[in-house]
């Protein structure tokens, strides 16, 4: 292992080098660009033995990765924001075809108004696309997701594409100390990709076909079941990862002081770090605060969240997203989970950080204060609005 000073994008590229994909096809878009720049340099200097295919669009980037995956090789692509939306059609093709491609998405606002800064509206709009969705909090976790994502996606029982999300700029462009494993360790962790779902001259098959009303529904059910089977595989991957790399992850969610907390903030991505600082500060004042970070939005941690917050007096969901005309998509998912598990504590939605607007220390203190007193069901933090 080697300690390096890397940005989130650079750490992810290091993780992908260790995963040794055979084909990388990508189109650059801020704030993802550094990932594909580093990977193209690695291919150029020979430290990564892969085909790097420069494509003319994101639609082509994922189509190309799918073509590569259909020949039975490990494929990688990366995008952000408008790029993710442009490849949306292909997201469903890749998941329906059960091609275990890994994609890094740099979470960024979507136009209009045009904006390159971070929020989570791009990936959260694609929750139903059939991709596993993970959200990293720091550069180390980003690198580790790069390795673990292939283990989980390519597992024979899962065979589902995997999207790893990094908060634009806040994580993609912030430098941190990162522990970069050795290629030998990576090889010991990640088995080679083997599949029957590929073009094979010795065993010719019909691939990526159409299916009428009689069978289509069964294909969709099996896609759903495959995604759900990733849950035990995530546990298995994290156990093996800890044995080899010495870092233990916590599955679909990551909790902080939630066991005895009266007030719990549920969020995802980088803002969890600041939220934990605030929880500590409130605890020193005698307020029992806790933080729950969602690591996986798909498969969704229904039972895990409900179990972690079941004794709370009030719950906040903070997200950089809004489903216009309703509320934040994370809030909808959390409420559905709590209802199904019989958790009745009041829940409040806090929408913030859209278009890269900073979520401050005082904003988070304010969230805890509001849920202690009770507030609107949906709150827009940091702006004065007449609702």
């Amino acid at each position: 292992m080697a300690e390096k000073f890397l940005s989130g994008d650079e750490a992810f590229a290091e993780g992908i080098r260790l995963a040794c994909p055979e084909v990388i096809s990508a189109y650059p878009i801020t704030p993802q660009t550094i990932v594909v720049e580093r990977l193209s340099e690695m291919v150029e200097d020979g430290s990564l033995d892969a085909e790097f295919i420069h494509v003319e669009s994101e639609h082509s980037a994922l189509s190309c990765a799918m073509g590569a995956s259909a020949t039975g090789v490990r494929a990688f692509t990366a995008t952000s924001s408008q790029g993710l939306l442009y490849m949306a059609e292909c997201l469903y093709y890749a998941s329906g075809g059960r091609f275990p491609i890994v994609m890094m998405n740099a979470n960024r606002s979507t136009a209009l108004p045009w904006n390159i800064y971070g929020d989570q509206r791009d990936s959260l709009s694609q929750l139903d696309s059939g991709w596993i969705q993970a959200y990293a909090e720091n550069a180390q976790e980003a690198l580790d997701f790069a390795l673990m994502s292939y283990y989980i996606a390519e597992h024979k029982t899962v065979s589902t594409p995997f999207m790893v999300n990094l908060d634009g700029f806040i994580l993609t462009h912030t430098y941190e100390q990162v522990d970069v494993p050795t290629p030998e360790q990576a090889k010991a962790f990640l088995p080679p990709y083997e599949t029957e779902n590929r073009l094979d001259l010795d065993n010719p098959k019909n691939m990526a076909f159409s299916a009428g009303p009689d069978t289509n529904y069964i294909f969709k059910y099996k896609e759903h079941a495959g995604m759900l089977r990733s849950v035990p595989v995530i546990t298995e991957a994290e156990k093996k990862f800890a044995e080899i790399f010495g870092r233990q992850y916590t599955g679909l969610i990551d909790t902080y002081l939630t066991e005895d907390a009266d007030y719990i903030l549920i969020t995802l991505g980088t803002i969890a770090g600041l939220s934990r600082e605030i929880a500590d500060q409130l605890r020193s004042q005698g307020i029992k605060a806790g933080v729950l970070r969602i690591r996986y939005m798909r498969p969704f941690p229904t039972e895990e969240i409900a179990d972690a917050v079941k004794n709370a007096k009030a719950i906040a969901v903070l997200e950089k997203d809004i489903s216009f005309g309703n509320e934040g998509a994370v809030f909808t998912n959390v409420n559905s989970a709590l209802k199904s598990q019989g958790v009745t504590a009041p829940t409040y939605n806090f929408i913030g950080g859209l278009g890269g607007r900073n979520i401050s220390h005082t904003n988070i203190i304010d969230i805890f204060e509001k849920i202690r007193k009770g507030t609107e069901r949906v709150n827009f933090i940091g702006i004065e609005v007449n609702q």
Binding site: S159, N197, P204, K205, N206, M207, I218
Partner: protein
Amino acid sequence: MKPYLREKKVFTFEDVPEDTSFEAGYLVTVNAGWRSIRPVVDTEKCVGCSQCYLYCPDGVISMQDGKATIDYDFCKGCGICAKICKPHAIGMEAER
């Protein structure tokens, strides 16, 4: 060569593969129900140039004894073969 046609059957849960890759032809069944006009080959005029065979988007034309033959189980009636036929050996006739 005509494609292999399976018997019409109800697929069970186990019959359906996990991913969209499976033995070729298994899911294929007759598919020509929406044709309103059909190409008909005049074998006297057909010179066996194979242009219709090359252009047919559904691959339903084969050459037999040097003449074009059409598989009506899969022909959609698009008429491209009739357009491309230089000796005007293919005519489009209404389905009845």
